[in-house]
């Protein structure tokens, strides 16, 4: 009996903002657009709320990639917090690169509430890109990040 080799299905954690990018995802849903099921969306009030801890924790706990999504520059509901996120995003990518994680595993996507189709298409594209990169394989038997409980679980 031969076992059919399944394609690698990446696990992606996506952070969206309440006002634009989550609405874009919502719109994609109400319009019955289909997109890859690999991304798990988490809604924040604003992309500026994205604590870099969330991203590192997602990677440490097994995500193959992380998507950060917010309002287009200039459109932020909280004036300029998406710019703040942009600066943190650029810095995070540099840190991840030094940690041996391909910076491409962290993606930034601007999406307005009207851009459901763009949102869906970009997620499909991103899933394919991560599939190309392969699993992050962060955890292994000698030092699995999940081996010991994450400290101060409640404090995030």
């Amino acid at each position: 009996m031969t076992e059919e080799k399944k394609p690698f299905e990446p696990t992606i954690v996506g952070f969206t903002c309440n006002w634009c990018s989550y609405r874009a995802a919502d719109m994609a849903g109400t319009a019955r657009m289909k997109y890859a099921p690999n991304v798990r969306l988490i809604r924040l009030m604003c992309s500026g709320r994205l604590d870099p801890t969330f991203v590192f924790k997602a990677f440490a706990n097994g995500a193959d990639a992380v998507l950060v999504s917010g309002c287009h520059p200039g459109d932020c509901h909280y004036v300029n917090q998406n710019y703040k996120m942009l600066r943190r995003f650029n810095l995070m990518r540099r840190v991840l690169g030094q940690m041996g994680i391909e910076p491409e595993r962290l993606k930034l996507l601007w999406a307005s509430a009207a851009e459901g189709a763009i949102f869906a298409a970009e997620i499909n594209k991103f899933v394919e890109q991560v599939r190309e990169l392969g699993p992050l394989n962060w955890n292994n038997k000698n030092g699995a990040a999940v081996e010991t409980p994450v400290l101060q679980e409640a404090a995030v």
């Binding site: 801890t53 540099r94 030094q98 962060w138 038997k141």
Partner: protein, 328 residues
Amino acid sequence: MSKPKFAMYWAASCGGCEIAVLNIHEKILDVDANFDVVFWPVAMDAKYKDVEAMEDGSILLTLFNGGIRNDENEHVAKLLRRKSQILVAFGSCANEGCVPGLANFSSIKDVVDTAFSTISTDNPNNIRPMTAYDMPEGTLHIPTMYPVLKTLDQVVDVDYYMPGCPPESHQIAAVIDLVIQVLQGKAELPPKGATIGAGGSTVCDECGRKRNVKTIKEFNRIQMIQPDPELCLLEQGIPCNGPATRSGCNSRCPSAGAQCIGCYGPAEGVVDYGARLVSAFGSVIDSDDPKEIDPILDGLVAPAGQFYRFNLAGSLLRAAKPAWKSGD
């Protein structure tokens, strides 16, 4: 009545913690007056088998400094855990990996190559350490190195955490005073898992420098500029780790004109030290233009080194991918 027993051990560390203990000066006599020192390799001769022969839980207080780099470190950590009632992760290495933990950026091969085959190393026969070597008299063993350095609490249960590289002597003296008071029934121990000998807030909180709204257009390395003696260093573009670092050192480095490098580890409530700094540094950059942001970030020459100098092994990611990989 026999005195309660005290032990101190160094695993992957530099020995600075031991010196910090001796730096408490005459207070060391109080340690001797109140404790029977049974195991302290740097100060007295003792063998592992002597510790193994002790009854479980017979040592009252063990200060454990150093990270867990090899199987010998792990063996002694587990041994001392069994023999001790109170095990303290003492100093940055045991708490969060510290500088030895920076090797977690590299695979074992790279670490060994750097130690034995760089241009500045005189090693013509390319001699490398071997974990086992056959001699006519029998086989010799040296400890096996692990792919990554672990913190003490990633290996055994830890009762208290005492951060610092090294812990400040006045903090050590205060902790010793507390333990002696507990022995005399005059005080109670803090709850298990507490951080002792340090403050709960950040270095910035203790820093005497003047603070305004931070907006910076470039990062400067401390050796490149003459910093203003009174103004917040981060405001001057010097990457100071104060915003994420636990207080307890009386803001020593910033007071002396040098940036905080984070030796007291994450402040209370900070889950990932580096992530907190990414957040803080990202906030203070005064630009909304991607074309401008990147050149500013170039001023942070090695961001991961800046953010995880003391904290890599204790961070969420714990090591870089090459280090994890070398354990496959």
